[in-house]
Protein backbone atom coordinates (compact mmCIF):
# COMPACT_ATOMS: atom_id res chain seq x y z
CA UNK A 1 0.00 0.00 0.00
CA UNK A 2 1.28 3.44 -0.90
CA UNK A 3 1.55 5.96 1.89
CA UNK A 4 -0.26 9.23 1.43
CA UNK A 5 1.86 11.95 -0.17
CA UNK A 6 3.04 14.89 1.96
CA UNK A 7 2.66 17.27 -0.96
CA UNK A 8 0.11 16.72 -3.67
CA UNK A 9 -0.12 19.22 -6.54
CA UNK A 10 -3.11 18.77 -8.80
CA UNK A 11 -3.32 20.36 -12.23
CA UNK A 12 -1.65 23.63 -11.34
CA UNK A 13 -1.69 26.38 -13.94
CA UNK A 14 -0.06 29.76 -13.78
CA UNK A 15 0.47 32.26 -16.56
CA UNK A 16 2.02 35.71 -16.66
CA UNK A 17 0.31 37.25 -19.66
CA UNK A 18 1.21 35.12 -22.66
CA UNK A 19 3.91 33.26 -20.76
CA UNK A 20 2.82 29.94 -19.29
CA UNK A 21 4.96 29.39 -16.22
CA UNK A 22 3.13 26.35 -14.90
CA UNK A 23 1.23 24.17 -17.30
CA UNK A 24 -1.23 21.63 -15.95
CA UNK A 25 1.32 20.44 -13.47
CA UNK A 26 0.73 17.54 -11.09
CA UNK A 27 3.36 16.25 -8.70
CA UNK A 28 3.61 14.41 -5.41
CA UNK A 29 6.28 14.34 -2.74
CA UNK A 30 6.17 11.26 -0.50
CA UNK A 31 6.99 11.22 3.20
CA UNK A 32 10.70 11.36 3.91
CA UNK A 33 11.78 11.51 0.28
CA UNK A 34 14.00 14.02 -1.44
CA UNK A 35 12.29 15.02 -4.61
CA UNK A 36 14.40 17.09 -6.97
CA UNK A 37 12.93 19.50 -9.47
CA UNK A 38 15.27 20.13 -12.36
CA UNK A 39 14.99 21.94 -15.64
CA UNK A 40 16.63 24.72 -17.64
CA UNK A 41 16.47 28.34 -16.55
CA UNK A 42 12.99 29.72 -17.03
CA UNK A 43 11.38 26.29 -16.76
CA UNK A 44 9.15 27.57 -13.96
CA UNK A 45 10.82 25.89 -11.00
CA UNK A 46 10.89 28.89 -8.67
CA UNK A 47 7.43 29.94 -9.84
CA UNK A 48 6.20 26.52 -8.76
CA UNK A 49 7.89 26.82 -5.37
CA UNK A 50 6.34 30.26 -4.96
CA UNK A 51 2.88 28.78 -5.53
CA UNK A 52 3.44 26.02 -3.00
CA UNK A 53 4.83 28.58 -0.55
CA UNK A 54 1.87 30.90 -1.10
CA UNK A 55 3.66 33.94 -2.46
CA UNK A 56 2.02 33.39 -5.86
CA UNK A 57 -1.55 32.30 -6.49
CA UNK A 58 -2.08 29.61 -9.11
CA UNK A 59 -4.64 30.45 -11.82
CA UNK A 60 -6.21 27.04 -11.31
CA UNK A 61 -5.47 23.74 -9.61
CA UNK A 62 -5.00 22.69 -6.03
CA UNK A 63 -2.20 22.24 -3.51
CA UNK A 64 -2.56 19.65 -0.75
CA UNK A 65 -0.23 19.26 2.22
CA UNK A 66 -0.85 16.10 4.23
CA UNK A 67 -4.31 15.96 2.68
CA UNK A 68 -5.17 19.52 3.62
CA UNK A 69 -6.04 21.98 0.87
CA UNK A 70 -3.62 24.94 1.11
CA UNK A 71 -4.69 26.67 -2.06
CA UNK A 72 -6.37 29.68 -0.47
CA UNK A 73 -4.02 30.11 2.47
CA UNK A 74 -1.50 32.92 3.07
CA UNK A 75 2.22 32.39 3.49
CA UNK A 76 2.24 32.41 7.32
CA UNK A 77 -0.76 30.05 7.38
CA UNK A 78 1.05 27.61 5.13
CA UNK A 79 4.17 27.81 7.28
CA UNK A 80 2.08 26.93 10.30
CA UNK A 81 0.52 24.09 8.31
CA UNK A 82 3.98 22.56 7.94
CA UNK A 83 6.00 24.15 5.14
CA UNK A 84 9.59 25.31 5.59
CA UNK A 85 11.52 27.20 2.97
CA UNK A 86 15.00 28.35 2.08
CA UNK A 87 15.26 30.96 -0.63
CA UNK A 88 17.40 31.27 -3.71
CA UNK A 89 19.10 34.34 -2.22
CA UNK A 90 20.00 33.92 1.44
CA UNK A 91 17.12 35.17 3.49
CA UNK A 92 18.27 35.52 7.09
CA UNK A 93 18.10 38.31 9.67
CA UNK A 94 21.26 40.21 8.81
CA UNK A 95 21.17 42.72 11.68
CA UNK A 96 21.27 40.01 14.34
CA UNK A 97 23.68 37.38 15.59
CA UNK A 98 23.37 33.73 14.61
CA UNK A 99 21.96 32.86 18.03
CA UNK A 100 19.45 35.71 17.88
CA UNK A 101 18.26 34.39 14.52
CA UNK A 102 17.72 31.05 16.20
CA UNK A 103 15.92 32.62 19.16
CA UNK A 104 13.51 34.55 16.94
CA UNK A 105 12.77 31.34 15.03
CA UNK A 106 12.36 29.38 18.26
CA UNK A 107 9.87 31.82 19.77
CA UNK A 108 7.94 31.84 16.49
CA UNK A 109 7.84 28.05 16.59
CA UNK A 110 6.51 28.13 20.14
CA UNK A 111 3.89 30.72 19.20
CA UNK A 112 5.28 33.10 21.83
CA UNK A 113 6.19 36.05 19.64
CA UNK A 114 3.38 38.20 21.01
CA UNK A 115 4.74 38.55 24.53
CA UNK A 116 5.81 41.87 25.94
CA UNK A 117 7.48 41.37 29.27
CA UNK A 118 10.52 39.18 29.65
CA UNK A 119 13.64 39.85 27.57
CA UNK A 120 13.87 37.39 24.68
CA UNK A 121 17.59 37.20 24.00
CA UNK A 122 18.51 36.23 27.56
CA UNK A 123 15.73 33.68 28.03
CA UNK A 124 17.28 30.33 28.96
CA UNK A 125 14.53 28.26 27.34
CA UNK A 126 14.74 30.15 24.07
CA UNK A 127 18.54 29.93 24.03
CA UNK A 128 18.30 26.19 24.57
CA UNK A 129 15.80 25.77 21.74
CA UNK A 130 17.80 28.05 19.46
CA UNK A 131 20.97 26.11 20.20
CA UNK A 132 19.25 22.90 19.14
CA UNK A 133 18.17 24.61 15.90
CA UNK A 134 21.72 25.78 15.18
CA UNK A 135 23.33 22.51 16.19
CA UNK A 136 21.45 20.70 13.44
CA UNK A 137 23.53 22.51 10.80
CA UNK A 138 26.73 22.75 12.82
CA UNK A 139 26.57 26.48 13.51
CA UNK A 140 26.60 26.32 17.29
CA UNK A 141 30.27 27.31 17.54
CA UNK A 142 29.52 30.50 15.56
CA UNK A 143 26.37 31.34 17.53
CA UNK A 144 27.60 34.71 18.75
CA UNK A 145 28.80 36.03 15.42
CA UNK A 146 26.76 38.72 13.71
CA UNK A 147 25.17 37.27 10.59
CA UNK A 148 26.57 40.13 8.52
CA UNK A 149 30.07 38.80 9.21
CA UNK A 150 29.27 35.20 8.35
CA UNK A 151 30.69 33.42 5.30
CA UNK A 152 28.24 32.86 2.47
CA UNK A 153 28.11 29.13 3.08
CA UNK A 154 27.36 29.63 6.77
CA UNK A 155 24.52 31.98 5.92
CA UNK A 156 23.02 29.29 3.72
CA UNK A 157 23.37 26.86 6.62
CA UNK A 158 21.68 29.31 8.95
CA UNK A 159 18.84 29.72 6.51
CA UNK A 160 18.41 25.97 6.33
CA UNK A 161 18.38 25.86 10.13
CA UNK A 162 15.67 28.54 10.24
CA UNK A 163 13.62 26.68 7.65
CA UNK A 164 13.90 23.53 9.75
CA UNK A 165 13.22 25.26 13.05
CA UNK A 166 9.50 24.59 13.16
CA UNK A 167 9.95 20.91 12.18
CA UNK A 168 8.07 21.29 8.88
CA UNK A 169 6.64 18.24 7.15
CA UNK A 170 7.74 19.64 3.78
CA UNK A 171 10.93 21.55 3.13
CA UNK A 172 11.24 23.69 0.01
CA UNK A 173 14.89 24.21 -0.91
CA UNK A 174 15.46 26.67 -3.73
CA UNK A 175 19.04 26.20 -4.93
CA UNK A 176 20.68 25.67 -1.54
CA UNK A 177 24.08 25.25 -3.21
CA UNK A 178 23.82 28.50 -5.22
CA UNK A 179 26.96 30.58 -4.90
CA UNK A 180 28.64 28.07 -2.60
CA UNK A 181 32.23 26.99 -3.04
CA UNK A 182 33.03 23.27 -3.53
CA UNK A 183 33.61 22.66 0.20
CA UNK A 184 30.47 24.51 1.20
CA UNK A 185 28.47 22.64 -1.43
CA UNK A 186 29.81 19.37 -0.09
CA UNK A 187 28.87 20.31 3.46
CA UNK A 188 25.37 21.36 2.38
CA UNK A 189 24.94 18.08 0.46
CA UNK A 190 25.90 16.09 3.54
CA UNK A 191 23.48 17.98 5.76
CA UNK A 192 20.60 17.55 3.32
CA UNK A 193 21.54 13.89 2.96
CA UNK A 194 21.27 13.55 6.74
CA UNK A 195 17.74 14.96 6.59
CA UNK A 196 16.54 12.17 4.31
CA UNK A 197 13.74 10.24 5.92
CA UNK A 198 13.05 12.89 8.57
CA UNK A 199 11.35 15.46 6.36
CA UNK A 200 9.99 15.46 2.83
CA UNK A 201 12.10 17.75 0.65
CA UNK A 202 11.35 19.41 -2.65
CA UNK A 203 14.72 20.48 -3.98
CA UNK A 204 15.61 22.79 -6.83
CA UNK A 205 19.27 22.54 -7.69
CA UNK A 206 21.50 23.12 -10.69
CA UNK A 207 24.45 21.14 -9.34
CA UNK A 208 23.73 17.82 -11.04
CA UNK A 209 26.22 15.84 -8.94
CA UNK A 210 24.39 16.94 -5.81
CA UNK A 211 21.01 16.21 -7.40
CA UNK A 212 21.98 12.70 -8.45
CA UNK A 213 23.43 12.00 -5.04
CA UNK A 214 20.52 13.37 -3.06
CA UNK A 215 17.35 12.78 -5.03
CA UNK A 216 15.11 9.77 -4.47
CA UNK A 217 12.93 10.94 -7.32
CA UNK A 218 13.30 13.55 -10.03
CA UNK A 219 10.82 15.66 -11.91
CA UNK A 220 12.03 17.40 -15.04
CA UNK A 221 10.33 20.66 -15.89
CA UNK A 222 10.53 22.37 -19.26
CA UNK A 223 8.47 25.47 -20.06
CA UNK A 224 6.17 24.82 -17.13
CA UNK A 225 5.34 21.24 -18.01
CA UNK A 226 6.56 17.98 -16.53
CA UNK A 227 8.38 16.20 -19.34
CA UNK A 228 9.59 13.29 -17.22
CA UNK A 229 9.43 11.97 -13.69
CA UNK A 230 10.99 8.99 -12.02
CA UNK A 231 13.97 7.72 -10.11
CA UNK A 232 17.46 9.00 -10.77
CA UNK A 233 18.29 5.91 -12.80
CA UNK A 234 15.18 6.26 -14.95
CA UNK A 235 15.70 9.92 -15.64
CA UNK A 236 19.37 9.64 -16.49
CA UNK A 237 18.42 7.08 -19.18
CA UNK A 238 15.51 9.12 -20.50
CA UNK A 239 16.13 10.23 -24.07
CA UNK A 240 13.73 13.16 -24.01
CA UNK A 241 15.38 14.56 -20.90
CA UNK A 242 18.82 14.08 -22.36
CA UNK A 243 18.04 16.12 -25.41
CA UNK A 244 16.02 18.75 -23.56
CA UNK A 245 18.18 19.34 -20.60
CA UNK A 246 21.04 17.10 -19.63
CA UNK A 247 22.74 17.40 -22.99
CA UNK A 248 23.65 14.66 -25.41
CA UNK A 249 27.36 14.61 -24.99
CA UNK A 250 27.56 11.55 -22.74
Amino acid sequence: MMANPVLDLRDLNKSFGALTATNNLSLTVMPGEIHALIGPNGAGKTTLIQQIYGALKPDSGQIFLNGRDLTGLSVPERIRAGIGRSFQISNVLMDFTVLENGIIAEQARLGQSFRFLRPAFSDANLIEGASAILDRVGLLDRAHLPVGGLAHGDRRMLELALALAASPSLLLLDEPMAGAGPDEGQRMTEIIEALRGTVAILLIEHDMDAVFRLADRLTVLVEGSVIAAGTVAEISQNKVVKSAYLGDED
Partner: protein
Protein backbone atom coordinates in the same frame (compact mmCIF):
# COMPACT_ATOMS: atom_id res chain seq x y z
CA UNK B 1 33.45 62.51 43.84
CA UNK B 2 33.27 58.74 43.71
CA UNK B 3 30.04 59.18 41.80
CA UNK B 4 31.82 61.33 39.27
CA UNK B 5 34.59 58.78 39.00
CA UNK B 6 32.05 56.05 38.50
CA UNK B 7 30.45 58.13 35.77
CA UNK B 8 33.81 58.62 34.06
CA UNK B 9 34.37 54.88 34.16
CA UNK B 10 31.01 54.28 32.61
CA UNK B 11 31.76 56.74 29.85
CA UNK B 12 35.12 55.14 29.28
CA UNK B 13 33.56 51.73 28.85
CA UNK B 14 31.01 53.23 26.49
CA UNK B 15 27.67 54.16 27.93
CA UNK B 16 25.11 51.54 27.19
CA UNK B 17 21.87 52.77 25.76
CA UNK B 18 19.66 51.81 28.70
CA UNK B 19 22.11 53.16 31.29
CA UNK B 20 22.08 56.48 29.51
CA UNK B 21 18.29 56.46 29.45
CA UNK B 22 18.03 55.99 33.21
CA UNK B 23 20.76 58.54 33.88
CA UNK B 24 18.73 61.07 31.93
CA UNK B 25 15.49 60.12 33.66
CA UNK B 26 17.23 60.39 37.04
CA UNK B 27 18.66 63.72 35.96
CA UNK B 28 15.17 65.07 35.32
CA UNK B 29 14.12 63.93 38.79
CA UNK B 30 16.96 65.93 40.36
CA UNK B 31 16.78 68.91 38.04
CA UNK B 32 14.26 70.92 40.17
CA UNK B 33 16.78 70.81 43.01
CA UNK B 34 19.27 72.51 40.74
CA UNK B 35 16.83 75.14 39.55
CA UNK B 36 15.77 75.76 43.13
CA UNK B 37 19.27 76.42 44.42
CA UNK B 38 20.40 78.19 41.29
CA UNK B 39 17.18 80.22 41.43
CA UNK B 40 16.29 79.55 37.82
CA UNK B 41 12.64 78.47 38.04
CA UNK B 42 12.12 79.28 34.37
CA UNK B 43 14.21 76.24 33.51
CA UNK B 44 11.69 73.90 35.09
CA UNK B 45 9.39 74.98 32.33
CA UNK B 46 11.98 74.16 29.68
CA UNK B 47 12.61 70.79 31.32
CA UNK B 48 8.88 69.98 31.24
CA UNK B 49 8.73 70.82 27.55
CA UNK B 50 11.78 68.63 26.94
CA UNK B 51 10.21 65.72 28.83
CA UNK B 52 6.91 66.08 26.94
CA UNK B 53 8.54 66.13 23.52
CA UNK B 54 10.88 63.37 24.71
CA UNK B 55 7.94 61.13 25.63
CA UNK B 56 6.28 61.77 22.27
CA UNK B 57 9.54 61.10 20.41
CA UNK B 58 10.05 57.89 22.39
CA UNK B 59 6.59 56.81 21.30
CA UNK B 60 7.28 57.59 17.66
CA UNK B 61 10.67 55.88 17.91
CA UNK B 62 8.98 52.54 18.58
CA UNK B 63 7.58 52.51 15.04
CA UNK B 64 10.22 54.66 13.38
CA UNK B 65 13.39 53.30 14.95
CA UNK B 66 12.50 49.78 16.01
CA UNK B 67 9.84 48.96 13.44
CA UNK B 68 11.26 50.86 10.47
CA UNK B 69 7.94 52.54 9.72
CA UNK B 70 8.43 56.19 8.81
CA UNK B 71 5.25 57.70 10.20
CA UNK B 72 5.00 61.37 9.32
CA UNK B 73 1.77 61.99 11.19
CA UNK B 74 2.41 61.39 14.85
CA UNK B 75 1.76 65.01 15.77
CA UNK B 76 -1.89 64.18 15.16
CA UNK B 77 -1.88 61.87 18.19
CA UNK B 78 -0.30 64.56 20.34
CA UNK B 79 -3.04 66.90 19.15
CA UNK B 80 -5.82 64.40 19.80
CA UNK B 81 -4.41 63.80 23.29
CA UNK B 82 -4.42 67.54 23.95
CA UNK B 83 -7.91 68.05 22.56
CA UNK B 84 -9.16 65.21 24.75
CA UNK B 85 -8.43 67.54 27.67
CA UNK B 86 -9.90 70.62 26.02
CA UNK B 87 -13.08 68.95 24.83
CA UNK B 88 -13.57 67.09 28.13
CA UNK B 89 -13.33 70.36 30.00
CA UNK B 90 -15.71 71.96 27.53
CA UNK B 91 -18.26 69.38 28.67
CA UNK B 92 -17.36 69.91 32.31
CA UNK B 93 -15.23 66.80 32.79
CA UNK B 94 -12.12 67.97 34.59
CA UNK B 95 -10.70 64.77 36.08
CA UNK B 96 -7.13 64.40 34.82
CA UNK B 97 -7.07 60.65 35.16
CA UNK B 98 -10.16 60.51 32.98
CA UNK B 99 -8.43 62.75 30.41
CA UNK B 100 -5.45 60.43 30.30
CA UNK B 101 -7.55 57.28 29.93
CA UNK B 102 -9.72 58.96 27.31
CA UNK B 103 -6.79 60.14 25.21
CA UNK B 104 -5.00 56.80 25.45
CA UNK B 105 -8.22 55.08 24.39
CA UNK B 106 -9.02 57.48 21.57
CA UNK B 107 -5.44 57.54 20.26
CA UNK B 108 -5.26 53.76 20.47
CA UNK B 109 -8.47 53.39 18.45
CA UNK B 110 -7.38 56.03 15.96
CA UNK B 111 -3.94 54.43 15.72
CA UNK B 112 -5.61 51.12 14.97
CA UNK B 113 -7.68 52.60 12.13
CA UNK B 114 -4.86 54.69 10.64
CA UNK B 115 -2.35 51.88 11.14
CA UNK B 116 -4.65 49.31 9.60
CA UNK B 117 -5.11 51.43 6.48
CA UNK B 118 -1.63 52.95 6.18
CA UNK B 119 0.36 49.78 6.92
CA UNK B 120 -0.96 48.18 3.78
CA UNK B 121 1.59 50.36 2.06
CA UNK B 122 5.30 50.84 2.62
CA UNK B 123 7.98 53.39 1.89
CA UNK B 124 7.00 56.73 0.44
CA UNK B 125 3.30 55.77 0.26
CA UNK B 126 3.24 55.02 3.97
CA UNK B 127 4.85 58.38 4.73
CA UNK B 128 2.30 60.18 2.56
CA UNK B 129 -0.73 58.34 3.95
CA UNK B 130 0.23 58.99 7.56
CA UNK B 131 0.84 62.64 6.67
CA UNK B 132 -2.54 62.79 4.91
CA UNK B 133 -4.37 61.43 7.96
CA UNK B 134 -2.59 63.94 10.19
CA UNK B 135 -3.51 66.80 7.86
CA UNK B 136 -7.14 65.63 7.80
CA UNK B 137 -7.26 65.76 11.58
CA UNK B 138 -5.46 69.12 11.63
CA UNK B 139 -8.03 70.70 9.34
CA UNK B 140 -10.86 68.99 11.19
CA UNK B 141 -9.87 70.82 14.35
CA UNK B 142 -9.31 74.06 12.42
CA UNK B 143 -12.91 73.84 11.29
CA UNK B 144 -14.43 72.91 14.67
CA UNK B 145 -15.60 76.41 15.65
CA UNK B 146 -17.20 75.36 18.93
CA UNK B 147 -13.77 74.20 20.13
CA UNK B 148 -12.06 77.42 19.13
CA UNK B 149 -11.24 76.50 15.55
CA UNK B 150 -8.03 78.12 14.42
CA UNK B 151 -7.67 80.10 17.65
CA UNK B 152 -7.80 77.05 19.88
CA UNK B 153 -9.19 76.91 23.39
CA UNK B 154 -7.70 77.69 26.75
CA UNK B 155 -7.50 74.91 29.27
CA UNK B 156 -7.42 74.69 33.03
CA UNK B 157 -4.81 72.39 34.44
CA UNK B 158 -6.53 69.10 34.98
CA UNK B 159 -7.87 67.98 38.30
CA UNK B 160 -6.00 65.04 39.83
CA UNK B 161 -8.06 64.69 43.03
CA UNK B 162 -5.57 65.47 45.76
CA UNK B 163 -2.83 66.66 43.42
CA UNK B 164 -3.24 70.32 42.62
CA UNK B 165 -1.34 70.94 39.41
CA UNK B 166 -1.18 74.66 40.14
CA UNK B 167 1.16 73.90 43.01
CA UNK B 168 4.72 74.44 41.79
CA UNK B 169 6.42 71.23 40.70
CA UNK B 170 3.30 69.01 40.90
CA UNK B 171 2.88 69.14 37.14
CA UNK B 172 6.62 68.70 36.75
CA UNK B 173 6.60 65.44 38.65
CA UNK B 174 3.41 64.23 37.00
CA UNK B 175 5.18 64.63 33.68
CA UNK B 176 8.29 62.99 35.13
CA UNK B 177 6.27 59.96 36.27
CA UNK B 178 4.84 59.66 32.76
CA UNK B 179 8.35 59.86 31.34
CA UNK B 180 9.66 57.20 33.70
CA UNK B 181 6.72 54.89 33.01
CA UNK B 182 7.03 55.26 29.25
CA UNK B 183 10.79 54.66 29.50
CA UNK B 184 10.16 51.53 31.54
CA UNK B 185 7.44 50.32 29.17
CA UNK B 186 9.63 50.81 26.11
CA UNK B 187 12.62 49.16 27.76
CA UNK B 188 10.49 46.09 28.36
CA UNK B 189 8.88 46.13 24.94
CA UNK B 190 12.01 46.41 22.82
CA UNK B 191 13.71 43.51 24.61
CA UNK B 192 10.65 41.31 24.73
CA UNK B 193 9.72 38.59 22.27
CA UNK B 194 7.42 41.10 20.60
CA UNK B 195 10.17 43.72 20.43
CA UNK B 196 12.79 41.49 18.89
CA UNK B 197 10.26 40.27 16.34
CA UNK B 198 9.43 43.89 15.47
CA UNK B 199 13.12 44.64 14.99
CA UNK B 200 13.46 41.48 12.91
CA UNK B 201 10.59 42.66 10.71
CA UNK B 202 12.47 45.90 10.10
CA UNK B 203 15.52 43.85 9.20
CA UNK B 204 13.82 41.29 6.94
CA UNK B 205 10.06 41.05 6.71
CA UNK B 206 9.96 38.05 4.40
CA UNK B 207 12.00 35.90 6.81
CA UNK B 208 9.50 36.66 9.55
CA UNK B 209 6.69 35.57 7.22
CA UNK B 210 8.67 32.43 6.48
CA UNK B 211 8.62 31.75 10.22
CA UNK B 212 4.84 31.64 10.10
CA UNK B 213 4.25 35.08 11.62
CA UNK B 214 2.13 37.86 10.15
CA UNK B 215 4.28 41.03 10.12
CA UNK B 216 1.22 43.29 9.86
CA UNK B 217 0.00 42.22 13.31
CA UNK B 218 3.25 43.29 14.92
CA UNK B 219 3.40 46.54 12.99
CA UNK B 220 -0.16 47.53 13.84
CA UNK B 221 0.33 46.67 17.50
CA UNK B 222 3.45 48.81 17.70
CA UNK B 223 1.69 51.61 15.84
CA UNK B 224 -1.18 51.56 18.34
CA UNK B 225 1.21 51.58 21.31
CA UNK B 226 3.15 54.49 19.88
CA UNK B 227 -0.05 56.41 19.15
CA UNK B 228 -1.14 55.92 22.77
CA UNK B 229 2.21 57.18 24.08
CA UNK B 230 1.96 60.28 21.90
CA UNK B 231 -1.61 60.75 23.13
CA UNK B 232 -0.40 60.66 26.71
CA UNK B 233 2.26 63.25 25.88
CA UNK B 234 -0.40 65.44 24.26
CA UNK B 235 -2.69 65.22 27.29
CA UNK B 236 0.05 66.44 29.60
CA UNK B 237 1.13 68.99 27.01
CA UNK B 238 -2.33 70.55 27.21
CA UNK B 239 -2.10 70.89 30.98
CA UNK B 240 1.38 72.34 30.73
CA UNK B 241 0.47 74.81 28.01
CA UNK B 242 -2.99 75.57 29.49
CA UNK B 243 -4.07 76.01 25.92
CA UNK B 244 -4.65 73.90 22.86
CA UNK B 245 -4.96 74.84 19.21
CA UNK B 246 -4.59 72.94 15.94
CA UNK B 247 -1.03 74.26 15.91
CA UNK B 248 -0.04 71.50 18.30
CA UNK B 249 -0.68 68.95 15.54
CA UNK B 250 0.81 70.94 12.67
CA UNK B 251 2.82 68.69 10.34
CA UNK B 252 6.02 70.52 11.22
CA UNK B 253 5.75 69.02 14.70
CA UNK B 254 5.79 65.53 13.16
CA UNK B 255 8.99 66.61 11.44
CA UNK B 256 10.33 68.00 14.70
CA UNK B 257 9.77 64.62 16.38
CA UNK B 258 11.66 62.90 13.57
CA UNK B 259 14.53 65.39 13.84
CA UNK B 260 14.69 64.78 17.59
CA UNK B 261 14.88 61.02 17.06
CA UNK B 262 17.50 61.20 14.32
CA UNK B 263 19.56 63.70 16.31
CA UNK B 264 19.49 61.58 19.45
CA UNK B 265 19.82 58.15 17.90
CA UNK B 266 17.20 56.27 15.92
CA UNK B 267 16.22 52.88 17.31
CA UNK B 268 17.79 53.50 20.72
CA UNK B 269 16.08 53.86 24.08
CA UNK B 270 17.90 57.01 25.18
CA UNK B 271 18.09 58.64 21.76
CA UNK B 272 14.69 60.38 21.65
CA UNK B 273 15.10 61.85 25.13
CA UNK B 274 18.68 62.93 24.51
CA UNK B 275 17.57 64.35 21.17
CA UNK B 276 14.78 66.30 22.84
CA UNK B 277 17.21 67.75 25.38
CA UNK B 278 19.70 68.86 22.76
CA UNK B 279 17.08 70.06 20.30
CA UNK B 280 15.22 72.21 22.79
CA UNK B 281 18.42 73.57 24.35
CA UNK B 282 19.64 74.55 20.91
CA UNK B 283 16.26 76.12 20.23
CA UNK B 284 16.80 78.10 23.43
CA UNK B 285 20.43 79.07 22.97
CA UNK B 286 21.09 79.26 19.24
CA UNK B 287 18.90 82.37 18.80
CA UNK B 288 20.77 84.01 21.68
CA UNK B 289 24.14 83.07 20.25
CA UNK B 290 23.12 84.11 16.78
CA UNK B 291 21.61 87.32 18.13
CA UNK B 292 24.91 88.26 19.71
CA UNK B 293 26.74 87.90 16.43
CA UNK B 294 24.14 88.96 13.93
CA UNK B 295 20.99 90.31 15.61
CA UNK B 296 19.03 90.41 12.39
CA UNK B 297 19.25 86.64 12.05
CA UNK B 298 18.41 85.63 15.62
CA UNK B 299 15.05 84.21 14.60
CA UNK B 300 16.60 82.03 11.94
CA UNK B 301 18.53 79.79 14.31
CA UNK B 302 17.68 76.86 12.06
CA UNK B 303 20.46 78.17 9.77
CA UNK B 304 22.91 76.88 12.36
CA UNK B 305 20.83 73.94 13.50
CA UNK B 306 20.61 72.42 10.02
CA UNK B 307 24.37 72.00 9.54
CA UNK B 308 24.66 70.69 13.12
CA UNK B 309 22.08 68.01 12.42
CA UNK B 310 23.86 67.07 9.21
CA UNK B 311 27.16 66.76 11.09
CA UNK B 312 25.61 64.49 13.71
CA UNK B 313 24.03 62.30 11.03
CA UNK B 314 27.26 62.09 9.03
CA UNK B 315 29.77 61.60 11.84
CA UNK B 316 27.77 60.18 14.69
CA UNK B 317 26.42 57.11 12.98
CA UNK B 318 23.47 56.35 15.20
CA UNK B 319 23.04 59.92 16.42
CA UNK B 320 24.24 61.34 19.72
CA UNK B 321 23.80 58.00 21.48
CA UNK B 322 26.14 56.54 18.90
CA UNK B 323 28.65 59.28 19.65
CA UNK B 324 28.51 58.44 23.34
CA UNK B 325 28.99 54.80 22.59
CA UNK B 326 32.25 52.98 22.86
CA UNK B 327 34.23 53.76 19.78
CA UNK B 328 34.77 57.49 19.97
CA UNK B 329 34.60 58.19 23.68
CA UNK B 330 36.73 55.34 24.87
CA UNK B 331 39.44 56.34 22.44
CA UNK B 332 39.56 59.87 23.78
CA UNK B 333 39.41 58.77 27.39
CA UNK B 334 41.94 56.00 27.06
CA UNK B 335 44.43 58.49 25.73
CA UNK B 336 43.83 60.81 28.68
CA UNK B 337 44.10 57.99 31.16
CA UNK B 338 47.32 56.85 29.54
CA UNK B 339 48.80 60.34 29.82
CA UNK B 340 48.02 60.34 33.52
Amino acid sequence: MTGLFHFANLVRAGIRDNQLLWMLVAGFALFPLFTHFADLPFWNDVAMRIMLLGVAAMGLNLVLGYGGMVSFGHAAFIGIGAYCVGISQFFGLSNGLFHILLSIGVCGALGLVIGYLALRTTGIYFIMITLAFAQMLFFLFVSLEQFGGDDGMSIDRADFLIIDLYEPLRLYFLIWVALALVALLLMFIVRSRFGVTLRAIKSNESRIEAMGLVPLHFKITSYVISAMICGLAGTLFASWQEYVSPDIMHWTRSGELMIIIILGGIGTLAGPLLGAIVFLLLEEFLPVALGAVAPAYAENWMILFGPLLIMVVLFGRGGLVGLLDKAIFSRIFRRRMAVK
